[in-house]
Amino acid sequence: MWDILKNRWRQGYRTQTFPPRGSLPPPFRGRPAMDSRKCADDCRRCAEVCPTDAISTDPLRIDLGRCLFCQECVRVCSGGAIAFSQDYRLATRCEKDLVLEGDKMRLAQALEKKRLRLFKCSLKLRVVCAGGCNGCDLELQALNNVVFDLSRFGIQFVASPRHADGLIITGPVTVNMKLALAKTYEAVPDPKIVIAVGACAISGGPFEGSDKVLNGAHSVAPVDLFIAGCPPHPLTILDGLLRLLGRMKEG
């Protein structure tokens, strides 16, 4: 008993304020910033080397729904046209907004009135891992620890889809998981929301094109929120969820 109390005292208070003061330390790779003016004429080296075809040139664009933040593009670019910033905010409401040009990004807007009223103060989510490597699931799990402490925002992960207001889907949706995912989606009562976490759930990620996967959550259900990353940092996920609930200031 005394040992427990002594340990508790030594541990101190560890919960991080949100949004955090200051940005994440380098070399953390967050939202990429691009400057087409630095591109050499007809240079397509970044697009050629990208493992997931996330880059298109002229004008230079990166699709964050496909990007794995692997820095291959930065390595081959001699002009310094692409750089990863330490900005962790990467969530959008539609796939179109994930395609970045320059250094601006349209972050996720809040839900429409009806669902916002229902879910703003209390949101229960069911996580389904539908393929993938488990990386995104680990970061979702990490949101429950004392540092990120998700439940202080009134958001909880629940065990049954029948107790949930929506689904978080990770992974590219494998052929073998399609049925189980569809059944879980059906079991969530209406109105519901669907959130795709990670490049796999948005576009298939590194597995795009395999005949064993369906290239993302949209193959089974309409998606309300896209959270990019491989895997997204817990702060990225938290930021996305709070934006969906209209609880973050713009910007």
């Binding site: 790779r29 493992p51 390595r75 389904v128 993938g132 979702l140 073998n176 597995f207």
Partner: protein, 476 residues
Amino acid sequence: MALHEIPEIDFISWRRWIIESCQLAKGRVISLLAEDHGDRMRLYGLLGIDDRGELRLAGTDLMKNDLRYPSLTPDLPEAHWFERELYEQHNILPEGHPWLKPIRRGDYAPFYRVEGEEIHEVAVGPVHAGIIEPGHFRFQCHGEKVFHLEIQLGYQHRGIETMFPKANPSRQAVLAESIAGDTVVGHALCYAHAMEGLADKSVSVRAKELRVVALELERMANHVGDLGMLSSDVGFLPASAYFGRLRGEFLNLLMELTGNRYGRSFIRPGGTLLDLSKEKILDFWKRLEKSEQEFRDVSDLFFSETSVLARFEQTGVISAELARTLGLVGFPARASGIGHDVRSDYPIGAYRVHKPPMVRLTTGDVYARARIRSLEVKRSLEFLKEGLKALTVEKTFLPCDRFKFSSLVVSLVEGWRGEIVHIAITDSSGKIRLFKIIDPSFHNWQGLQMAMRDGQISDFPLCNKSFNLSYAGHDL
């Protein structure tokens, strides 16, 4: 090695060679794999004689019009999963296999059943209550007692092995890092070693050292995280919260080394893409020192709590004999008294010069599989603190391409779960034509099934977390 140098023997001798090497020479099946050669199917057997640090490889042919042979499994149970994989991937029929069904395909045919009036069956999954990966579990129970557990996987199957030969090098690297999201560094390192072997290039000493820093950070983060999970499963919440937080400290160190909390895009064939500055090294050292103290506090608290010990001891026992029979690898094998660790048996990179001493326990229960984690974390911390003091100064990356043609390469890494193996074969132009991946989970899922025998269903969460196997790593 070049393909023509691999010994070729007739099938009967090949089969006898495997059984005798394993039963008489203390060998172990590391992999059985097959490659389509038109009218023939070429089979390779890769065995490890761990005591001597020796790998043995031999090939044989089966004619396509008669793809069958007397199964190895009745004589050598550790071949069980490999034979099912060969049957699923190449239709090679092992006659007399005791339980022949696909392991990943998705048609989950009959489950093993125990018959009787008072027997009941419990089915769980593929969608589970927690935030975990999908898999299906079938328990055959009599009251609370579990007679048999069958685990059916394959829900995470993404077809990585077949994608590999078609992918360009940058895609291959991210695929290797996406085999199992908690073993990014382990698989990336194994892939990099394989490619460097094919290119016959070696990397700088500094790169080798930084790779080991990343690998040990990954090991510590996962072990500590699992201890947290085990604490919450026995309802000891203080330790659960502290271990959970400490796991984050190691992940954050990994992020400051690699730019990603799981170590993605850091290790590539040829070296590492980032380096550590002098100030960072000093900062790392201080933070490791602090984590060591905090880990010791929580670990002492956890392992001296009688209610925790009462729940852990004698639960889910795997004897040394059973572990050997099933061919278990990694810390679950070491918890049962088997002295196998790739870092000691087949050292490569910086481990050749210096390695953390192997930890071995004997009881093989949940307690041993938990305790060994805390001991391995302790040894890794000491090892890293010492290693960081003595980093050499060198370039960390040199390009690595142009592979040897018609060659086969084997690469072994001791990831946090155990032995990771990648095998690559190149064609006559030096392109990869076959890539085989064996995650430690491939061997160890059978261990979890056997650990549940004669236990209670309520023991399952403990047994499961004490192994914490990868679904994604198995399903590929």
